[in-house]
Assembly symmetry: C2
Homo-oligomer: 178 residues x 2
DNA sequence: AGACCATACCTCGACAACGAGGTACCCTGG
DNA sequence: CCAGGGTACCTCGTTGTCGAGGTATGGTCT
């Protein structure tokens, strides 16, 4: 997820580590802050994989800033990841949101629509949170307000997203046949 | 999160590993499946921490089943965790949902209300996903449908949850003053 | 009898993420 | 003049998670 977000932000423009940290903090930070001890090793991994290069800028600020530039390989890696996301990128809320934040980089409405279709399929799949043996237990059956709320919120969330997905798919696919 | 879920399920009734696995699969599995290589070491950790005991049942099924029973310490650990959740339990959707699933075990409406208040405070905190410098960028400003959708869905989700939180808090606190 | 699947449990190596700590510089205010 | 805070980067040990693999038994289908 971190890898995806780093590539996504750098696709727009080169940034140095600290700026990247702030962008990441805005995107996912209020939910799950990323620490330095996570970010910098991740950058190193991406560098040694050849997805980005660090350009040292001697001037300006306190410590020597390493501006991070995506390589062609890095740009390709991002696009490949966006085009064919892993199963977890589709199902996990946090990862899906990260993917959504950068899906615009994929400059192909058909491919974008395909990704949205995968999310649509995931959300319309029947799934329950609780089972009594093999029988799914619905929200109405719970006497405690918390599990009832859990199911209610999950339903409201997925309905809001489904509405958006269907509208956006119609838009994208309308543009295709023009 | 896994620890919380294991303790939560075992609080209701003793289970053996395989049953636990199925309960976990229902609760979080469609979003983020847990593998055996995660579950069994987690059980061992809880055992060596004295939070549960394994009782071997020689009869019935294929392999000897180890039925897992919470100890008094385990029950206490769950209640303590529910009573004073970590910051990530409040902010991270997945972890919050897990917490919500077991909050009924906390047999004290005031403590339950306190936890909901923390989530309420978190959700009403102003936070934006994207910034242009220091200025937060709103949904309306994006031309790409994906970031716009991201913000729209996030808003719808949090509104649904806020409505439920407020209603449930009123209920819980109404019960307190009776 | 043999193949196959579900049940049930476990280990191992690899890796991602974390927090705590450290280094070093600049600027501002007392 | 120097303390404190922001900028900027990095390391290290610990923990959690994963996937791939292994072991074993009971039941079903052919």
């Amino acid at each position: 997820m971190l890898k995806l977000a780093i590539l996504g932000f750098l696709y727009d423009r080169p940034l140095h580590g600290y700026q990247l940290r702030r962008h990441l903090a805005a995107l996912t930070g209020h939910v799950r802050p990323i620490s330095d001890g996570t970010l910098y090793p991740a950058i190193k991994r991406l560098e040694s994989d050849g997805l980005l290069v660090r350009v040292t800028e001697p001037g300006s600020a306190a410590a020597p800033r390493h501006t991070l530039h995506l390589t062609e390989e890095g740009r390709g890696a991002l696009l490949a990841r966006l085009r064919e996301p892993e199963a977890l990128d589709i199902s996990d809320e946090n990862r899906w949101f990260t993917l959504l934040a950068f899906l615009r980089h994929l400059d192909d409405p058909a491919a974008q629509a395909a990704v949205l279709h995968r999310r649509l399929a995931f959300l319309t799949e029947p799934a329950s949170f609780f089972y009594d043996g093999d029988r799914p237990v619905g929200a109405e059956e719970f006497t405690d307000p918390f599990r009832r709320g859990l199911l209610l919120i999950a339903r409201a969330t997925s309905e809001a997203e489904l509405a958006w997905l269907r509208a956006t798919l119609a838009e994208l696919e309308g543009a295709l046949t023009d």
